[in-house]
Symmetry: C2
Subunit: 831 residues, 2 copies
């Protein structure tokens, strides 16, 4: 079991309560890695980590553009046919955040000056990061610095940085606004990053060894600077342009510097006591894989020219308006839990920052907040982030699904490389090609195909957007169904069954197995959805159907095969334990004695060879439990409970994706306290850095999953088969839970209290729902309340590995439990 | 099935018959890669590929020293805990073979001149490579070149090259004897080798990217040249010294050149018609990881000084004498099959060349004939090469086993890295550390531990050399037994059984499985052998026992655990098919339709992703069949036949280790014709380049396996449990088969004819044997003949995949058979 946290973990002295913002009340040097991620501003296209403006005292000075990546040849120490050959890594682009301040020639470096006051606040309604620093110089002058940083959610290519300084005595101020290219394996001080670093963490990005950004352009024109680059291998172009404006009553003059990797706009200000100086820095980034640097330069100029004609306030107002609409559609309110309320909003705000302007790009594991996982897109976008988008921001969900549609051709290519028909989406990718060099926990996760179709069908059901299918998204269904039909095979022993062998489920602590339950359940739904969607299209739009048939060379007999395979899909089930084995061999394995595994040996993946982990019944995340959430209609309540109890005891939660799902199903089957604890463990993944790697970026899937835990876990919402049903589970210490869902264009406010669930149309006409089997229709102006007798079953305690060893095995069989005991960390280091 | 060859494949025009040599009758440019391997001379320490003396027209100009390697950091595209981090690759050392000839300033390049005659012959009794080239210059002069190359088997550090030229008309000859360092990713013309080469072959060596040999010494003193180097990362030292002598009646003078990577001794000869010039080049190589280059220089000088005082004839005579004794102990004679006879001797001669002077080093997969597989040592030394050495050259076998004993400490370290007690020998290594970066077909092959103990116990039983165990080799038994006891676990369902999960057997087309039959059978024997050997040592030599106990901190209770685990070892068996499944899940897999797989898709590993191959019942080599050979006493005759028939139909033979074992068991169970065909497929692996990669070096395991196929397959010899038994299977078209085995110091000649098997002591006193259950004692001077009624059962035809689909499945179950059908080679290239 994962030992979820049992109470709010934040130091409220450092992070004071705030309904609509995240506040850092003082400067903690050792927490800056985490803070940089937490205080990221971004819009899904562009992201700037919460580095201090002066570009000092930081861990990762990061500015990321979704999908802007470098490629590199993967060198497998031992090659095999079909291994991924091209690595992809998001590029930390030229940094336009930096503004350095020198007072009487002494640099303002937070860790070196006498700080009187330092706070930062990320405002969830205004969408700005505000900082205030007050410090005293060695000569006793008190300097106040106020900065504001914003990446508009209404604009794709823009960032705005304001920097204001005031001294309480006359002082010479030098303000150096910079564009810095910190790329190329070289840190700011010019030191090459060590590649022989003994430590490893597979969750980090691959370090790029060679110069990535080749300088192609440097221009200065007044206060405007433009730097342009092209990536060495992937040949993507980037131009960053900056406009400067100074506002002050003081005397000043300016100087400039322009080099390939650095450009400076320097203001020398003879500041009078109490007379502030304000620098406004407007930044535009444009990128492309198919236009010239000159064209990108022109685009930057046009963006800057256009923005230059606006008042700054107009931008702030537009940002506020966008977020007002966002919260109108997406807010979740929790009465009587101000700490949780704040954390929930921080999480939802992160989803907005990670997705708002992805437009045609994917949603990376870290959004635009860091380079963890190389900036890659994974399945977790579809399973953890899309539900929130589908039910609250369907247009953004549609964009995310269009990204997969665009990537269908490389997915076909990848399937062919793996000797399969249809399409196989890459396990991790930026450009659509498989970038997972470790197939066992990568390419073998065929389930990504079914995850994408799951999200697609969820979107179609929630929105009724059949047009999206007809316009080509149906190709995803057809090609993935083809993959499953070809990947599996028939085995007959009496009645023929359809089996899928040699795959890895979401739980990466067991790989390359036969008949992974999650995969088979999801593939079955994929096959059926494809057959149904094709038939429905034929009925509804024969022309679109004919075009699709020709485009995909579809034989109607294929549908027969898909349905046959789905109907005969082998679903492993153990009668004696009353559980679904994770895969065909899972129950044969030795049990890992998780309760006696010391914390310093976690996460297991950092302390044990994969071969060791794979040999045991031990999970990174419980994919059977996930299946019973996504396809609850395929499981009885007793099976869900049995599965939860069995796997929860074996689940380390080493994956940040684990807590959300454990929370949802714990709530459903009755472990209410445990559900709350798992919820906290998801809610605070990053805020409290529960996995120790928030510095590498926000866990975007978890931020999206928080909404699922609220609406689906506690709210009890499901959409199996298209009907939206509610079977709520309000935590005992919450007065109420309110959230919104948009169904076929109608936004419904759902308010859950201890004895009632209430539905109210906030926008649109009407919606049809069900509460515990009772049909409910809610129309505009006519809220409906449904009385609740209880909040579902209540079970106490926590499932334990010990239970698995004792009476649970009805067949009397006993499997030993152990921990690989030899401590080897030190020996390994000694290599 | 693997489609074994059914008749002798050699072009006898090119390779004329020769009882005691391999002859190349003409120069075939496109075959030079293979020829370089076939005509290698070596002694197990030093090897020189059969490059033409002038260092032109070649594929790989190779000179290798066993164990002389470079290390490099493995960069896993995705890291995990415990992955091997240090790659090891044998180094192609400075080349002392090169002698270039210019006639009237025109270079002698075989592919460019008018060749009148060109032959080479590798003599198996003299141990020399002789070449004769006659060619005509553009001005009509006929030049005759005769060369002789030898690496003494009696010396460790020496090579001798003789070069004689004669012109039929007066001519100006320039003979440039060279030392060339072709290292460092740069070919002879200075072109960097392409690292982005699209092609891949996992059987080749890793290409080293950076300069490997750092120049440390260059000295010339008269006709003596010394070049010294140290490897960049592994810091091994190497000095190569050369002495030159010229013998001619012609006028001559000399010149010199001495640089870091090239040194030349140049003779300018004003040759008279018919007056020959002879250059004698004596070469010494010394290497070390712990002495200075100066010391290595001194060692080279001492070797050259000592050899310089000998007549050349003395070296040739010593070589002949060594080989005379070798053939006395090891020759195999086959009456009436001159082609097979020649090929057999070539194979056995290769074993001598790969092992004679390994002394403390291992036996690499390619011996010293090439850099295939990176010059690494694998399990195949123990299972395929050691039987021949144990039964004919026990001292060499002992040296090979001592190599493993020396490597016990890194093997302990590796076990700890994999969270296991005891020792785990690396799957592939030079320096004792695991170098397999792909654990699924590498580290997971835990069976290597049991393979080593198998070879150790076979050696001890054959020689009675208990002293070897007492002096420390017993530590191997104890530490490997500990690994097995810790790796496996108990599962009880009624009676408790011992299971071993998550391992890979020798068949690399199925990886990381539970209860691999081969592994479990071998581990069981390993556990028992350890317990027995420890008990025997306690009885026989209490002092050595006490020292061992202290040294290994051995608790006598451990022996109880070992025996308990061995006795309860789970041996998968399928009652309905009457076969042993290769592993717990093997029979659940889809069948690969091998009969309908086109040749151009073979070997499978070059055309299908591992995930695809792993999903099917399809084998690289049949490890159940191998187990039934190594531990025949654990299988009934019916099981052996059933297993052979089942797996033979599924075996691609993509491993060069396959044919030997299929031949042995085919012979035992009665597929006599098939046994002969498999034998031919093993015999000609390299001579006919049956796997297409002989250019990378000789398949040493197969050369050793040829002897096993002869003595154990056709000779029917087994040593299960210490008794040497014979149950012969003489091929119908062989008049007789004669081989030797040395048992406890007594060498017995075994002669098998259609109706008799005859034993005669050639050296020593007596030996005890059994023929088909009948005890036989043979003493010096008293040969024994045993009459034979037959040569075992006779079955016709070839097992077929089709059989597996039809009536074979007694339970009526049907598994589909298919081939992954989408041709993907082209798409892959298009990346």
């Amino acid at each position: 079991m994962m030992n979820p946290i049992t109470s709010e973990p934040l130091d409220r002295g450092l992070f004071p309560l705030d309904d609509w913002g995240l506040v850092e009340s003082r400067f903690e040097p050792e927490l800056q890695g985490r803070m940089e991620s937490l205080f990221t501003v971004g819009n899904g296209y562009l992201g700037m980590r919460g580095n201090l403006d002066e570009g000092r005292d930081g861990v990762t000075y990061g500015t990321f553009i979704n999908g802007f990546h470098e490629t590199w040849p993967i060198r497998h120490p031992e090659e095999a046919f079909g291994f991924a050959r091209v690595g992809q890594t998001i590029v930390n682009v030229v940094d336009a955040k930096v503004i350095r301040l020198y007072v009487d020639d002494q640099p303002f470096v937070l860790s070196e000056v006498e700080v009187l006051h330092h706070t930062r606040r990320l405002d969830f309604r205004d969408g700005v990061l505000i900082r205030e620093a007050v410090w005293r110089t060695p000569t006793g002058k008190v300097i106040t610095v106020r900065t504001r940083r914003m990446i508009p959610l209404t604009e794709r290519h823009l960032a705005v940085v304001e920097y204001e300084v005031e001294s309480d005595a006359d002082a010479s101020l030098l303000i150096s606004s910079q564009l810095v290219n910190r790329q190329d394996g070289v840190d700011e001080e010019g030191t090459a990053r060590s590649l022989d670093d003994e430590s490893f963490d597979p969750r980090k990005a691959e370090t790029l060894e060679n110069r990535v950004l080749q300088p192609k352009l440097k221009v200065r024109d007044g206060g405007r600077i433009l730097l342009g680059y092209r990536t060495t291998n992937s040949e993507l172009g980037l131009v960053c342009g900056v406009d400067h404006r100074i506002e002050t009553e003081n005397d000043w003059d300016e100087a400039h510097q322009l080099e390939d990797d650095i450009a400076k706009q320097i203001y020398r200000v003879r500041a009078k006591a109490g007379q502030p100086v304000r620098i406004v820095k407007t930044v535009a980034y444009h990128t492309s894989d198919d236009v010239s640097i000159r064209e990108l330069r022109d685009r930057c100029n046009r963006t800057l020219d256009r923005i230059g004609r606006l008042r700054l306030d107009e931008l702030y107002e537009a940002q506020h308006a966008w977020l007002e609409e966002f919260w109108r559609c997406s807010d979740v309110e929790i009465e009587g839990q101000p700490g949780i309320q704040q954390a929930v909003r921080w999480n939802l705000f992160q989803v907005a920052q990670a997705t708002a302007r992805t437009d045609g790009e994917g949603i990376a594991a870290k959004g635009v907040s860091g380079d963890g996982y190389g900036g890659h897109y994974f399945w977790d976008a579809e399973i953890y982030v899309l539900p929130f988008l589908t039910y609250t921001l369907p247009q953004v969900a549609r964009n995310a699904l269009r990204f997969r549609q665009k990537m269908l051709e490389p997915a076909r290519h990848r399937a062919a490389e793996l000797n399969q028909r249809g399409a196989l989406f890459p396990w991790r990718t930026i450009n659509g090609l498989e970038s997972s060099a470790y197939y066992a926990a990568g390419t073998a996760q065929y389930h990504i195909d079914a995850d994408i179709t799951y999200a697609l069908m969820q979107y179609v059901r929630a929105t009724g957007d059949l047009d999206f299918l007809a316009r080509g998204a149906i190709d995803i269904l057809v090609e993935t169904a083809r993959l499953w039909a070809d990947l599996g095979f028939w085995r007959s022993n009496g009645s023929p069954r359809f089996h899928i062998h040699g795959v890895t489920g979401p739980d990466e602590y067991t790989t390359v197995v036969n008949d992974n339950l999650y995969t088979n359940v999801m593939a079955r739904a994929n096959l059926r959805a494809a057959a149904q969607a094709v038939s429905a299209l034929e009925d509804r739009d024969p022309e679109a159907y004919d075009r699709m048939r020709q485009r995909l060379d579809l034989d109607p007999d294929e549908l027969v095969d898909w349905v046959a395979a789905a109907d005969a899909m082998h679903i492993p089930y153990d009668e004696r334990l009353g559980i679904h084995p994770q895969d065909a061999q899972f129950l044969d394995k030795e049990l890992w004695d998780l309760e006696n595994t010391p914390d310093l040996k976690r996460p297991l993946l950092m302390h044990y060879h994969p071969l060791v982990i794979y040999r045991f019944q031990v999970l990174k995340q419980a994919d059977v439990v996930l299946a019973s959430f996504l396809h609850g209609q395929d499981f009885t309540q007793q099976q869900k409970r049995n599965n939860f109890e069995y796997y929860d005891a074996l689940t380390t939660g080493d994956s940040s994706l684990s807590a959300v799902v454990q929370s949802i199903i714990a709530a459903e089957v009755g472990y209410q306290t445990l559900a709350s604890h798992y919820f906290l463990s998801a809610l605070y993944v990053d805020l409290a850095d529960l996995h120790g790697n928030t510095a590498d970026g926000i866990h975007v899937a978890s931020t999206g999953g928080v909404w699922s835990a609220l609406a689906m876990g506690f709210g009890g919402m499901r959409d199996h088969g298209g009907d939206i049903t509610f079977d709520p589970r309000l935590p005992a210490d919450w007065r109420s839970l309110t959230f919104r869902v948009t169904l076929h264009g109608t936004r419904v406010r759902v308010r859950l209290t201890a004895d009632t669930i209430r539905f109210e149309v906030e926008h649109g006409d009407k919606a049809e729902l069900a509460v515990r089997g009772e049909y409910v229709e809610v129309t505009a102006g006519n809220p409906v309340s449904v009385a609740l007798d209880d909040q579902g079953p209540v079970l106490h305690g926590t499932p334990s590995t010990r239970d698995l060893l004792g009476g649970r095995r009805a067949d009397g069989s006993v499997i030993t439990a152990s921990i690989p005991t030899i401590s080897n960390g030190d020996r390994n280091e000694a290599d």
